[in-house]
Symmetry: C2
Subunit: 287 residues, 2 copies
């Protein structure tokens, strides 16, 4: 039976480490503040926003919610971002994505001030992740995976990590974060040949392919650590990940459940980034 790498204890530990830092900021008259920018009324977005609100309230982070209509014009959205950039009371901005298809995603991401980019969407943050420098912030989901590994004291250095998926939201940044922790990283994707065999090489397998239950027994071997980033609704109303849990759980050493695994840590990482951004703002103000 595999060790269950539950996300809630990880999120709780991160949250508790933030409390004294928020108190220190309060003593300086600063309330760390996150602005959440949502376009339209997509269910996923509303659900994630709700989770972020709850997490922020636990930590003592104020939230400004900005809701724009589904058919908002590009310029209106850019203006809203510009206003948040200039607002000294806002330390971090979360733009819920993917955006409706009539909007230019790259232009929107690029418009955000790098200092407030707490979910790693600007070119500046991308460069920071790629170079391994502390410039900007990594996206919350892949960083959450690293937080889980560290919380459960799973060694990364020298291990073989296989990342399934090369999206900019998870796969590529996760690869760079694992590389920074000295894993030997392999990046797989739809063109990978002999995918199951490549995945079996992994000590740490991070599934971020966006395909429900595609990781089956033939991808796995005993001793593996399995991180599942997928979230897919099933016809019966439940949700599943990229991994076929029933097939994997008897084989591997440890596995994140879905739900309650990697997804449960994301908002805690977001809160951590907002507090960090508020601290940087405070240091800059003091200079």
């Amino acid at each position: 039976m595999a060790l269950l790498l539950k996300g809630f204890p990880v999120a709780k530990a991160i949250t508790q480490q933030l409390l004294p830092r928020v108190e220190q900021l309060a003593a300086k008259g600063i309330t760390p503040t996150l602005a959440i920018l949502r376009v339209g009324e997509k269910e996923d977005d509303i659900s994630y926003e709700k989770g972020a609100l709850k997490r922020c309230s636990q930590v003592g982070i104020a939230v400004k919610q900005l809701h724009l209509p589904q058919d908002v014009e590009q310029q209106t959205l850019l203006d809203a971002i510009g206003q948040l950039n200039r607002d000294d009371t806002v330390h971090g901005v979360l733009i819920l994505r993917p955006l409706p298809s009539h909007l230019n995603d790259a232009a929107v991401c690029g418009a955000l001030s790098p200092q407030k980019d707490v979910d790693g969407i600007t070119p500046y943050s991308m460069a920071g992740i790629f170079t391994g420098s502390s410039v900007g912030y990594p996206p919350c989901t892949p960083q959450g995976c690293i937080e889980i590994l560290e919380h459960y004291q799973i060694p990364i250095s020298g291990k073989r990590a296989v990342v399934l998926g090369r999206s900019l939201v998870v796969g590529k940044p996760a690869s760079m974060l694992l590389l920074q922790k000295n894993a030997t990283v392999t990046i797989c994707h739809t063109r990978t040949q002999n995918l199951p065999a490549v995945c079996r090489e992994a000590d740490i397998l991070l599934a971020a392919a966006g395909q429900p239950q595609m990781v089956t027994e033939e991808f796995l071997r005993p001793g593996q650590i399995l991180l599942d980033v997928g979230i897919h609704p099933l016809p019966d109303g439940s949700i599943c990940g990229d991994v076929c849990f029933a097939a994997a759980e008897p084989v591997v050493q440890a596995i994140t459940p879905v739900p309650g695994g990697t997804g449960a840590v994301t908002t805690a990482v977001l809160a951590k980034h907002v507090v960090e951004a508020a601290e940087k703002f405070s240091e800059k103000k003091e200079k």
Copy 2:
């Protein structure tokens, strides 16, 4: 006996494709121009500069050489870069690096205008390489490796590529370029366990570890394509790569020689980037 992947024919083919493009620019009154900024009198730098000059003259690219003393102050260097940024007759800037240690490399790289960053050193280019967008330019050496593979019609898509080394100059950008070409990419480094076994998995092995002749027979198997980015002087005055050529050549399917392999293509890629930058400048002017 392995196929020798010589760099000179690749460089020649790239150069010849550039000639009509330079003519078209000339018809618009534009001479593509590269500024080379060198600090100090390091032998490697002088030798690379000489190679770049020769290549540029073949292509019809004008070169402005700027030489600053070894002990130049940071601000003087930044001012020189600022001046090149503003100079409309300069389309690309090559800053010879590594810089002397008293200079802040990140600040210097960040000061260069992204539009003129023909060797992929700005955060803007880094983000472009990471995201796989056409923003900025990749560094010339790793792109030269891709040019060699394409010239010799070696398939990349679906193949396993192992990159030995994770520097920002070669290893990391090479990994991203190979990933863009749909290779399954593994990034290895000093902390990698069982390195020879991991390297034997490669269909394409790119050695950029910076260690003379560290790739020996146990890293190799028949059928592999071997790209060697190393350049190391030997006591007898000759130079060698990261690969022990005598051990590799009887085993692998194809190998780049050192010298005359990957290094021979770098200045051709540089010239290609300068012409591209001049073309973009010309298009922008026409709008």
